[in-house]
């Protein structure tokens, strides 16, 4: 070992020792994390698994030094409220509510217990926090607002001629209500006219998709729990009518949409887990800014594109981080 590396190594070691995080990392003590979601759903379940895996990566393992309670309200906000009270009564180290109604129920019930919400698109609108940068009190979390500007730019790159963009969504979902507003605001910038297709339950999705045939040049599926649950019904309509379907989350590309850029809900969970770990290490939730889920993974599905009569430009495939079917 030469002198230079030894000096650098010592400096690095000193630097690591000096950071309080590294000190706290040495021995994670036992912790209880209580997780609740409004309903069992692929995206929300993936979020939960992401939280658990990230905590494991940071040294809190289920069955060893972590008690990981999970409850689903089975779609009923009344039950969500009851679960929130149950968790507050148990007094875990952190409560992680997934989705807007669950988060509101928990924030309303928990005055002192740290809360790290996730999969909430508009935390300010939901009144979970008053300030994204300085949340204050016992609450912080992660917003799953998708990078819609990037999505629209991607659709424009794949379909230079498209004019009208169909957006199926459930008007009963708070997240989607926020997303559709943003889509309508940003679409003209990319030269799109938005055609809304409401579907209030998963059995309505295929009908909503059929209603778009002939009226739009492409369909964009936002991160809407109802639509994503019934994605296959929509994809069938897309393939039958040569109507290209894009999505807001990368998991859906695996299932058969053409492409997207951004994150999947497992990553949302991992990023939430990072915040939970910070709280477990002693940081005050009120001091941790509310983050927005990050992700720049470009996923493309050339086979799905072909079925819908579209060829994904070489340039897009070349820079994709994942090409489905390869």
């Amino acid at each position: 070992m030469n002198k230079m590396t030894r000096v650098a190594g010592t400096a690095l070691a000193l630097l690591t020792l000096a950071t309080p995080a590294a000190l706290a990392q040495t021995a994670p003590k036992n912790a209880t994390v209580a997780v609740t979601a409004i309903v069992e759903h692929p995206a929300l379940d993936a979020t939960r698994d992401g939280v658990r895996d990230e905590l494991a990566a940071q040294g809190w393992k289920v069955g060893e030094n972590l008690r990981f309670d999970y409850q689903s309200a089975q779609g009923n906000p009344g039950t969500a409220v009851q679960i929130a009270r149950q968790f507050v009564g148990q007094g875990p180290d952190v409560i992680v509510p997934i989705s807007t109604p669950s988060a509101q129920a928990v924030v309303s019930a928990a005055r002192d217990i740290p809360v790290v919400f996730t999969a909430v698109t508009d935390p300010l609108g939901a009144q979970l926090v008053r300030d994204m940068d300085k949340p204050g009190r016992n609450v912080t979390g992660l917003s799953d607002l998708s990078p819609i500007a990037d999505h629209l730019a991607l659709i424009r790159e794949v379909l230079p001629e498209a004019k009208r963009l169909g957006v199926p969504y459930n008007p009963g979902e708070p997240n989607s209500a926020t997303l559709i507003e943003i889509i309508k605001k940003l679409a003209p910038g990319q030269g799109f006219t938005v055609v809304e297709a409401p579907a209030t339950k998963s059995s309505d999705v295929q009908g909503a998709a059929r209603g778009l045939v002939g009226r739009v040049d492409a369909i964009y599926v936002p991160t809407d729990n109802t639509i994503v649950s019934a994605l296959e019904a929509l994809l069938i309509v897309g393939a039958q009518n040569k109507l290209p379907v894009f999505s807001g989350d990368t998991d859906s590309v695996q299932r058969g949409t053409i492409a997207t850029i951004g994150f999947n809900y497992y990553q949302v969970g991992r990023q939430t887990g990072e915040i939970v770990a910070r709280v477990l290490k002693g940081e005050k939730p009120g001091d941790i800014p509310v983050r927005t889920a990050q992700g720049t993974d470009l996923h493309v599905n050339p086979k799905a594109a072909q079925a819908m009569g579209v060829t994904i430009p070489e340039a897009v495939v070349a820079r994709a981080s994942k090409v489905i079917g390869q």
Partner: protein
Amino acid sequence: MSAVALLGAAELGLVFALVALGVFISFRILDFPDLTVDGSFPLGAAVAATLILADWNPWTATGIAVLAGAASGIVTATLNVRFKILHLLASILTMIALFSINLRVMGRPNVAILIQDTVLTPFYDLGQQLGLPDAVVRPLFVLAVVLVVVALLARFLTSEFGLAMRATGVNARMARAQGVSTDLHIYVGMALSNALVGLAGALFAQTNGFADVTSGIGTIVIGLAAVIVGETVVRSRVIVWMLVGCVVGSILYRIAIQVALNADFIGLRASDLNLVTALLVAGALILPRVRNPLKARASAEATSR
């Protein structure tokens, strides 16, 4: 099971006791199977939350929520009485229409009032002076509301008008023969029923800080289960005890959910929640029947000896 969880269950049980009382009026008094409640519960929540967010006095907001609930009951009654649509279908039509109306009322699917003043705010302050936590103040407040409602309802249902309403439900033809305007009683009964459900929705929004368009799902199931569990537990033909039975049934239903939430130690999963709740409620209904024949046999043997 912790005290906070039990208090929470009691509080929700009391809020839904108002739903149970409403369902008692439609199903038991009027013999009108009414599914409107799945829409009028979130309607009450939506109206109260939206008005509170617009800086209305929370009591006024609650009052208007009650009126909105009553209006939805009148719509169902009109579809049935005036236009002869089958009662079940009439109520389903109102229920599905209310989904869209609730979205219109709120302007979005979910309205938060976590930081606004509600009817409970002065009581939270009072509780703080007395050293009572919010988790205790909330159920006490709702209990007071429920007691007032039960007292007023008992009085109403034993009045001449109330007796005529009960007669309408038992035998409409006979009631008409006695000069009772059955149509009027169906209108009033349905309005009253859904007004109570609207009040429940308004209180739900204010005790939990949000109104969500999906919060109506299964309201009728909870209300009906509460009424029937109550009838099994409190066996009485006296009207005030029947009303108390609804309240008790509603609280027991919530405690069943609470037990189900704590059932993971016997290898149950989170997704089993609804099944366990259903089994507990079914058990509560079946057990008294199972015991009776045994008792009957035992007493029969005793007498034969």
